[in-house]
Assembly symmetry: C2
Homo-oligomer: 458 residues x 2
């Protein structure tokens, strides 16, 4: 095993070079959502593969997926030791609105100890940090303390559409004990966090149809049902006034939180006044009996994301519209199943269909199971120990209210849990103009990944 | 007084010429809604003024209004007789979608006894028919049986924005006993109708505001109020499940129908199966205890014309939107006041504002009092007698569910009721592509206006 002085010196000496390498990677506009950028996503894949080979990783390949390619590699010369997969993504979000960027989004401007650019924080810095960690150990100790695999994808920002089949097709090649996801964040520069879960999601559309065509509201209003009234009634019926979801059976499969889980969540700092001020709302509103974090992390929701029908322009158009529409997503928690929840909402819509209109519930592509890694998982324990050591305090155990499909896919295809261990900070504007990444976080990430591999192999 | 043989012969002989004149007028694209057509609206005004002079009408003037001009004229040589004003409009609706027209909309194609073109049915045919009626009487009898004034406007299709002040500014010049509106329709080619009323209208917008910006529904959904849920709740609260309006006090000022009025409405033929089939809806839906015509003509409504918020595109965007909006119009019946109704809706919105959002009710420009002419009004009686004579049966007494501001304006400014007496038919596609007017209706209109003036002077 390398001693700390050796790898620390290696990192310090080469840090200026590693920073230039990160700027090089950030300059590749690998926007996965835009078809005209597909070649750039592939270029980023090739760049990452080249960097893996330079680090001494073996079996490096850019693998087609049917969509944007993945990059894999491995170092498996630690017999008897566990296999840890380092996961990341080299694709980035689009850059609109372009005029809000101070520097061109792919110029990788270096200023005040930060690299500005799309993908710097989310998450090209993390990708490179994992590679640097492995290189550093190989260079200073000549070997790794565990077996390591790399899995980098180019389609995370568009929901990893081809990754489920890619993982299923390469089960043996990708077999692993657990995955360390270099995607994720610190709680603050002085406080670590470990994210133990993601909510699932299921999406659907409600369509309400009335007459064959739009009608004049003076001539026909009041004689037949108005689809906008019917939709309002239907949407209003889905919640009770206290904010709970009124869809029958919706909460049936929700896992009851243990006292320990609730205590872990209660330990995460929350400033209600700051939360309200930041959002600009007068009060909190949600399911009674649960804290804001519990409402976000461990309780399911049913939210209308869009609703429309009839005339929306300036002025008046006295139309009785012939249709009304709503888009709904439910965030799911263990042990809710996306398909089952969609069926419950369908039954609710059918059971509450107002008179005089035809109501249709259409499932949407969106669907992901909730994902939770047990707090006692060896990967979580290893990450906790390393973070406690590095920050001088235990991490907060958080979850994400959002839904990232890849964790669920990895669990399903490989039977392997993922431990999110990233170093982004909340103010780094991921997905927004002027995204940046702190060089201090970059250096810290490299060190934490080194220590994690050491701890995993101990 | 002219004898029937004389004016009938005059009409017959000149009918081909009158048809060519109507085609000439239809060819002027006097679209009042399009600023770039303002000169064409003025050209139509000049054309109508010239035609009035040619008919022997005196004091003919094109009068500025601040918007599109009006045309007035008079013949006041029947001392001791009442004064009847003949009203019409020479502006027309826009022609979109142009590609659905078989002939160019201003080509005035003559085919199968019909003139095809925008404004042919609504209502350049009616305008010319009134002028021809007066010319015919002057030519065949040398005088008119009553005093006649003409009032033609060029802004009816955009809601007559300058007509209220125009009427107020010319009260003496326009003083009259009653107005015959050449705008309106027959029930069918063999059945006459007289429209005794129009509903009023008042418009407003409801805006619901949540957070300062759109938020991620995974990160924030379930912790603060969703404006779309709040709007749905608010809109749903405005009606009871049976279709009645739940706004407190909404029905307070509604005039109770007399048994006679209800009987007149019940006498109008209504085929429910045909109505449903035409609209493509499974069932009628509206205020219990009232027929479809009563719901349309003599009962008020509150209809949402448009509603929107959040994401409406293809696919998913898991947004918790920061605002939601609805446009509402209420149709009003005697004795509801637009301002009072807007206040009641405002009070409802404030009283039912869901928690956690800010709700705003904004009044819209739209506002018109309901208008009803008494069935025993001398103008109505005269029109009834003439129609009964011409069709061989009494007219149906109908109303309009819509709102045309000019009738209310005439009543308010001149103290004069208007009697709608037009000859459009329901299939003539007014406001739609391929509008047409039947030459038979044109000839019938000329005759009815002649007889009406005779009857009014008798």
């Amino acid at each position: 095993m390398a001693d700390r002085a050796a790898w620390s010196e290696y990192l310090d000496q080469r840090q200026p070079h590693f920073v230039e390498e990160l700027r090089e990677l950030v300059r590749i506009p690998s926007i996965s959502a835009l078809p005209e950028h597909a070649a750039e996503v592939s270029r980023a894949a090739e760049w990452v593969a080249g960097r893996l080979r330079a680090a001494g990783v073996e079996g490096v390949r850019v693998v087609p997926t049917g969509g944007h390619p993945a990059v894999i590699g491995e170092w498996l010369r630690a017999p008897g030791k566990p296999t840890v997969t380092l996961y990341g993504h080299f694709d980035v979000q689009p850059v609109d609105p372009l005029d809000l960027w101070t520097d061109p989004p792919f110029s990788a401007a270096l200023r005040d100890g930060r690299i500005y650019g799309r993908g710097a924080s989310d998450m090209k810095g993390g990708v490179l940090a994992t590679i640097i960690a492995v290189e550093t150990l190989l260079q200073t100790a000549g070997s790794l303390p565990v077996n390591v695999k790399f899995l980098f994808e180019g389609q995370e920002e568009i929901g990893s559409p081809q990754m489920a089949s890619f993982l299923a097709d390469h089960r043996a090649l990708l077999a692993t004990d657990y995955v360390v996801m270099a995607d994720g964040g610190q709680w603050s520069e002085t406080e670590p966090a470990l994210s133990l879960g993601l909510r699932g999601v299921v999406g659907m559309e409600v369509h309400v149809f009335g007459a064959r065509t739009d009608l004049h509201s003076g001539g026909y209003g009041g004689t037949i049902a108005n689809p906008l009234h019917a939709l309002a009634e239907l949407i209003a019926s889905m919640h009770r006034p206290d904010g709970t979801i009124a869809v029958e059976g919706f909460y049936d499969d929700v896992a009851v939180l243990s006292a320990e889980e609730r205590a872990r969540i209660a330990a995460v700092p929350f400033d209600e006044a700051e939360y309200l001020a930041q959002l600009g709302v007068p009060e909190l509103f949600g399911e009674p009996g649960y804290s804001t974090y519990e409402r976000t992390w461990v309780r399911p929701t049913l939210e209308v994301n869009g609703m429309w029908g009839g005339f929306q322009g300036e002025g008046n158009k006295t139309v009785l519209p012939n249709a009304a529409h709503a888009k709904i997503t439910c965030r799911l928690v263990p042990n809710q199943e996306p398909g089952r929840i969609a069926e419950l909402v369908r039954a609710h819509v059918e059971g509450h269909a107002p008179r005089g209109v035809r109501v249709e519930l259409r499932p949407m592509g969106l669907g992901a199971r909730p994902y939770v890694v047990p707090a006692e998982h060896p990967g979580v324990v290893a990450a906790r120990d390393v973070l406690t050591d590095v920050y001088g305090r235990e991490p907060y155990y958080v979850r994400s209210g959002g839904s990232v499909p890849i964790s669920g896919m990895l669990l399903e295809a490989l039977g392997a849990y993922s431990i999110p261990l990233g170093f982004a900070l909340k103010d780094e504007r991921s997905h927004a103009p002027n995204e940046f990444y702190r060089l201090a976080s970059y250096r810290r990430a490299q060190e934490v990944y080194i220590r994690l591999l050491e701890r995993a192999g101990a």
